[in-house]
């Protein structure tokens, strides 16, 4: 089990305990946003190589949504944060 993710609540865990829930960088448009904005959000996505932000759900552990910053080429992990904490920090700015 090579891919280890350090959950801020549970400690270092293998990737088998998580479910990857997709890119965390695209911002969800408001429910009343134009169709073009929603189309862009749902279908027009980048496919970056390198450092990315992803949602990882710790299904077999604390069951929290985490945001993992990692390199999808080398799988180097740069940081793991609780998604709710990140949201709160973003709202404070």
């Amino acid at each position: 089990m090579a891919s280890l993710i350090t959950c801020p609540h549970c400690g270092t865990r293998p990737k088998e305990e998580f479910s990857i829930r997709g890119a965390a960088a695209p911002k969800r448009p408001s429910p009343t946003a134009k169709d073009e904005a929603w189309h862009r959000y749902v279908y027009v996505r980048d496919n970056p190589k390198g450092r990315i932000l992803e949602y990882w759900h710790h299904v077999a552990g604390c069951r929290r949504f985490l945001v993992v910053e990692r390199d999808n080429l080398t799988h180097e992990v740069f940081g793991v944060t609780d998604a709710a904490e990140l949201e709160r920090a973003g709202a404070d700015e």
């Binding site: 089990m1 549970c10 305990e17 299904v59 604390c62 069951r63 929290r64």
Partner: protein, 182 residues
């Protein structure tokens, strides 16, 4: 007792069952444990955790930032329900019928559990009294260290059979025995 090896078939144990007298390595299945799930309301996490850790006759198990299991093997469900509902800012649900509680102990316990979980169980990392939710034998479980060589495993009822079989399989090399306990 003398064993007639000549007439002992290689599959003897597999058919009549392995020995059941407790060995040093033993898995106890607790018959009727009391298990409550406790959730803290937003902003009440620290207060609820503190109340849980101070509660008598109840052992708290950490699941997530605002979620715990409260386990008791000594008092009844009503007593625990009364005690837990007195904690301000917490919601509690009786899970006793939905979970199975097993206790594994013995000198080889870390070697056996090392094949079941992917968490470092070294006493300096996973200290006595520590508990966490993790994959155990491919099922979501809560594992707690209750002694130097004793661990408690809580699994959902529907997974109990497969987790039990896998624990026994992993412990066979170490002569793991099993039985019910109160």
């Amino acid at each position: 007792m003398s064993i007639n090896l000549l007439h002992r078939h290689v599959l003897e144990d597999h058919i009549s069952g392995f020995e059941t007298d407790p060995n040093p390595n033993h898995l106890s299945v607790i018959r009727r444990p009391v298990i409550f799930s406790v959730l803290a309301h937003a902003g009440q996490e620290t207060a609820v955790a503190e109340a849980l850790w101070n509660a008598e006759d109840v052992a708290p198990r950490f699941c997530g930032p605002s979620e715990w299991l409260a386990v008791s093997r000594t008092v009844g469900a009503e007593t625990v329900a009364g005690m837990l509902s007195a904690i301000a800012g917490a919601s509690v649900v009786d899970q006793s019928d939905g979970r199975a509680l097993m206790e594994i102990s013995g000198p080889s316990v870390r070697k056996i559990l090392g094949r079941c979980v992917a968490v470092d169980l070294h006493p300096e990392v996973f200290e006595q009294g520590h508990s966490a939710a993790m994959l155990c034998c491919h099922a979501t479980a809560n594992v707690a260290r209750t002694g130097a060589d004793t661990f408690e495993i809580i699994v959902p009822r529907s997974f109990a059979g497969s987790v039990f079989e896998e624990l026994m399989e992993m412990g066979r090399e170490h002569g793991l025995t099993r039985g019910f306990a109160d």
